[in-house]
């Protein structure tokens, strides 16, 4: 039982780190970033390349930095011009971006599946309630908790956090008050993309690296974002936890319906609480 809860936390944690990046970018730029899954994938590959010449921890840092820089570039040349366009245009452009990134990765690393080993320090198992549990998975939970704590402190107490919250409620008025919303957005997209790099790296020792790995997890993170409420940080956190547990216990107790449950949950939220679990608070 306890192990199942922990397993739910691991998958939920991974989804949270990815989904909160989506929420950040949507909040500021009103862009539904379909390329987010491919940023996650690029993060995994960058980590793989760096880990091959150094170690996992450097790879982790490198993936975050490279993706954050990529985020700034994307914000300037893709998201900023797109924010006033029709939503369908942003969907098409970010989807196109996904294809481009997948092809770039295919060209560099090929189509074979790659695998990144967990750092030796975390490669073992611990005994929890008489069961063996991989240490690495505990680390994933810890990282998710740190990200959640860090983000909420940053948003609540820092000046730029205040700007972010203000801009995501009303970018025009915030701009009139003298906040440079473009600079705020660049920072926020950098963080969102950096988090995608982080989640790609910590996912790499759990699952095969492949150019299309982003699309396997993107749907789950969109479910998290919708269930939590578009643009809601707290909502994303709660939804990721719920989806993680539901996914796990579904497979354990009602396997024939397990893959349906997250979707049913999303449908239920859309019908009865369309603003999401967190009730539309941004």
């Amino acid at each position: 039982m306890l192990i199942n809860i922990l397993n739910g936390l691991v998958y939920g944690g991974l989804l949270y780190i990815l989904a909160v990046g989506l929420v950040l970018i949507f909040g500021l730029r009103r862009v539904v970033n379909f390329a987010h899954g491919s940023l996650f994938m690029v993060g995994g590959y960058v980590a793989f390349a760096v880990a091959a010449v150094s170690n996992f921890w450097l790879a982790l840092v490198a993936a975050i930095v490279v993706l954050a820089v990529l985020g700034v570039i994307l914000d300037r040349f893709v998201f900023r011009p797109l924010q006033h366009e029709d939503p369908i245009a942003t969907v098409l452009v970010t989807f196109g971006l996904l294809l481009v990134l997948e092809d770039v990765v295919k060209t560099i690393w090929g189509k074979d599946f790659l695998s990144l080993a967990a750092p030796p320090l975390l490669a073992g198992t611990v005994s929890i309630a008489g069961e063996t549990f991989p240490v690495y998975r505990l680390m994933v939970i810890a990282v998710a908790v740190l990200v959640a704590l860090g983000l909420s402190l940053w948003l609540r107490f820092s000046r730029i956090g205040l700007y972010v919250r203000a801009s995501s409620v009303d970018p025009v008025t915030t701009g009139m008050q003298g906040v440079d919303t473009d600079r705020v957005s660049a920072a926020v997209v950098a963080i969102g993309a950096g988090l995608a790099g982080l989640s790609g790296t910590i996912a790499a020792p759990l699952m095969a690296l492949s150019p299309s790995m982003g699309s396997f997890i993107l749907i789950d993170s969109f479910i998290v974002v919708v269930v939590g409420g578009l643009g809601s940080f707290t909502g994303a956190f709660i939804a990721a936890l719920v989806i993680g547990q539901v996914h796990n216990f579904g497979i354990v107790y009602i396997p024939w319906a397990a893959s349906m449950i997250p979707f049913l949950l999303m449908v239920a939220v859309l019908i009865w609480r369309p603003t999401g679990l967190a009730g539309g608070r941004a």
């Binding site: 199942n4 998958y11 074979d112 599946f113 695998s115 020792p205 759990l206 699952m207 492949s210």
Partner: protein, 397 residues
Amino acid sequence: MQTLWTRRATLAAAAVLATAGSVAAQEVIRIGVPTALTGTYADLGDQARRAVVFAVEEANAKGGVAGRKVEARFLDTEAKPDLARRQAEKLALEGFKLLTGTVASGEGLAMGPMLQRWDAIYVSTINKANQITGAACQPRMFRVNRLDASDGAVVTPWLAQRKEAKWAIMAADIAWGRDSGASFIKSAQANKRTIVSENYSPFGTNDFAPYIQKIKDSGAQGLWVALAGRDAINFATQARQFGLFDAVFTAGVSFVTDNTVKTLGEASKGIWGIINYSSTLDTPENKKFVADWAKKYPGTEPTNFEGETYIGMQVILQAVAKANSVKPADVAKALAGTTFDTILGKQLMRKEDHQLVGPNFFGNVGEKDGKLKPIITMSVPAETATPAPDPACKLPG
């Protein structure tokens, strides 16, 4: 994704054409390959593609097949049945009517009933579901690779030697995975073993932790795995982290293959599995194939799926030569009931169910020439390895 692939596949086909040079002005043999170029089974689809490209170049280098040049065209199916049906139809309409190379059984099953309407044939080289040459058999559908029942025929005697009494199943929730699970249950019943946990994961699963925990909790001593491609790697990586392979004896099908072993490394060592083809098989034809393969793709040996797809190409091209025609109807006639020269020796394409009668093997992942790979420990001859035709298959004539 499709358009990108279409473009790329056209380029690949053009490249194949360019290397082919000019061959006599006979009608070209057009091989249509709808296969998984992206997605969970991209790695298997890529193997099918490499084998077809190899066979096409080899045939053209020899001046073609009975004076006919060979050409291949590839389209992405993502291993999804509905997409496979559309892509195959597109290929057939463009004149690439000799189809082969899909990965998932569902793809073959989706194409089967359409073949006559498209005036095409389909030769399975990777689809394992029994129905392909069983209840869902078709006059225009053939299979050269080993079916699930054939894997069962190998597993049953192997299981008899194992001491584990309680077994769990971990398979993909698609036609093949379900079929393989059912086949293993039959083998288990024949050996009076009990199945304590049956798990079918959705195609393209990220997190296998709940399944792994269920298998651990079930008290299983043995585990049968029918997962392939990305699913196989995700499951093996996570199961190893949970220490599952140390606690439970593990074997499977399409699980530890040449390619997954390459990715998994040490994590795959000691895992048992069905081996449908191995580059180490000691026939003169296979040795020549492996040597030629290394010239075309330096530093590699043909994998199981590459070997099987190459057999498919051998069979198709020999049938074209025998029919002296590229018309699908003539090729189909030349395929049924004919014995072909393959890299595994002479093999008969049964006319009753269109299944090629071939041997099957079992083994485990170990080190050979300093490299980890599946090594054959048990060979089952063709007569026993390919069960008699399923009476559910009723082909005219």
